[in-house]
Amino acid sequence: MKNTKSKTFRWPKGRRAAVSLSWDDARPSAVEVGVPILDRYGIKGTFYVLPRNMTRQLKAWRAAAARGHELGNHSLNHPCMGNFIGWQTPETMLENYTLRRMEKELLKASRVINATVGVRPTSFAYPCAQTYVGRGTSLRSYIPVVAKHFEVGRSGFSETYASPERCDLAQLPSIDSDNKTFEELRETLDAAVSKGCWLILTGHEVGDGRVKQTTSAKALKQLCAYFNEHPEIWVDTITTVGRHIGATVRHLPVPARFR
């Protein structure tokens, strides 16, 4: 079946695809190693900062934001499923959350970021790519809360990139940049570009790509150099690309035959 909208959507300025580079948690190496690489190539990244990590390097993050990098919300306490037994506690695990507490804490994290860096986050990244609170028959998705308070929500560990015509801006797919070579990243990038899609990469640290949860600094440099030579690829922050899609694509109510 053809997606009728694919004929109408256009990337701005004749570009063929979009890419956003993002990192989670406000790890020290993201601002110390990652941001300088992006700056050298004139590329803006998106950083989903945890308030408690960000406040340790406030000056560096403030300077990054002033140069145009996006600072997004990554929750207050990084709540994930309780199955992470060595890490999540009864207080932080999503099974013990309510929608009300989640909303309160998302707004508080945004307030802290705004008060310390001077930018109010417009995008959010789900910790551990998990999108629920509670359990079983009383489990609820908190994606509607993210849709209410942010322009864009970014998910993770996805098997594919975002289709501009079909994606839900409240839960965009993203693919890991950690522990990958430039060649591996390039393969995913080429597929996304050939389909006219939006590739969002997610990482944590930036440095030695053999270390757990680390985007290879070398691969990142090669990727940035590649972008500089390929103006047909729009590289920008998640909110900027998301805003363009949000202003262009309208989603009609679900047809009655699908209900």
């Binding site: 997606n3 359990r135 509607p144 289709s163 994606c167 899609c197």
Partner: protein
């Protein structure tokens, strides 16, 4: 912080951990290659069948069910996010689903599988590991539907295994089986045993490890040999292990201060 329940939960018959081996979609190589390997070692697997694929090998699936392998539900049409543009259509993408349609189709798949193989499924595997219908502010999780109709719901692409005390049986995590060596699987297995947890592996085809979405037949054989030599590990179907946890663990409502 300690998990108070970890002192009270015990695996049956003095076992230290549990393992379930699962495959999705009813791919032909599962009955042709995978099940004969499991049978040789006397292990029961869990197979989440798509009705349209199952119908091509009904006799073999019925025989597998009769030998004790579990037949689970994997929906009627394998709906996933519309971002899979080359594969999902407006008629199958989750963004166009409603909870009512999802419930109807889950029950229809149960009826078809029950009639064809003689067992009504009690477990379910989320397609693409995704558990939502709709988009944005109107998006809803369908985990509560699974909690209502099944003993166990299995999520995928997880970063960790299930803690018996903390897991939500309506969305237990599972880890990729496909394209891994025995040594890689062994690392995950040993970590799960150390933590006293329930490791669920999920795969698609069974055969040459270089094939896409394929559990290596060689790695599966070595894993079965390893499990056979370690009687402290309980190897059983997802529903059998899930039932034991469901009967042993109670989840009181979250405390007021966490709401």
């Amino acid at each position: 912080m300690r998990v108070p329940a970890s002192n009270t939960f015990r695996w049956p018959n003095g076992r230290r951990a549990a393992v379930s081996l699962t495959w999705d979609d009813a791919r032909p190589s599962q009955v042709d290659v995978g099940i004969p390997i499991l049978d040789r070692f006397g292990f029961k697997g869990t197979f989440y069948l798509l009705p349209r694929n199952m119908k091509r090998q009904v006799a073999k699936w019925r025989a597998a069910a009769a030998r004790g392998h579990e037949i689970g539900n994997h929906t009627l049409r394998h709906p996933c996010t519309g971002n899979f543009i080359g594969w999902q259509t407006p008629g199958t993408m989750l963004e166009n689903y409603t909870l009512a349609r999802m419930e109807r189709e889950l029950l229809e798949a149960n009826r078809i599988l029950g009639a064809a193989v003689g067992v009504r499924p009690t477990s379910f595997a989320y397609c693409c590991g995704q558990n939502f219908v709709g988009r944005g502010r109107r998006l809803r999780s369908y985990v509560p539907l699974i909690a209502k109709h099944f003993v166990v719901g299995q999520a995928g692409y997880s970063e960790t295994y299930a803690s018996p005390e903390r897991c939500d049986l309506a969305q237990v995590p599972s880890i990729k089986f496909d394209n891994k060596t025995f040594e890689e699987l062994r690392l995950t297995l040993d970590a799960a045993v150390t933590d006293g947890c329930w490791l669920i592996l999920f795969g698609h085809e069974v055969g040459s490890a270089r094939g896409r979405q394929t559990t290596s037949a060689g790695a599966l054989r070595k894993l079965c040999e390893n499990l056979k030599s370690r009687p402290e590990i309980w190897v059983d179907t997802v529903s059998a292990v899930g039932r034991h946890i469901g009967a042993a663990v109670r989840h009181p409502p979250a405390r007021t201060r966490l709401r």
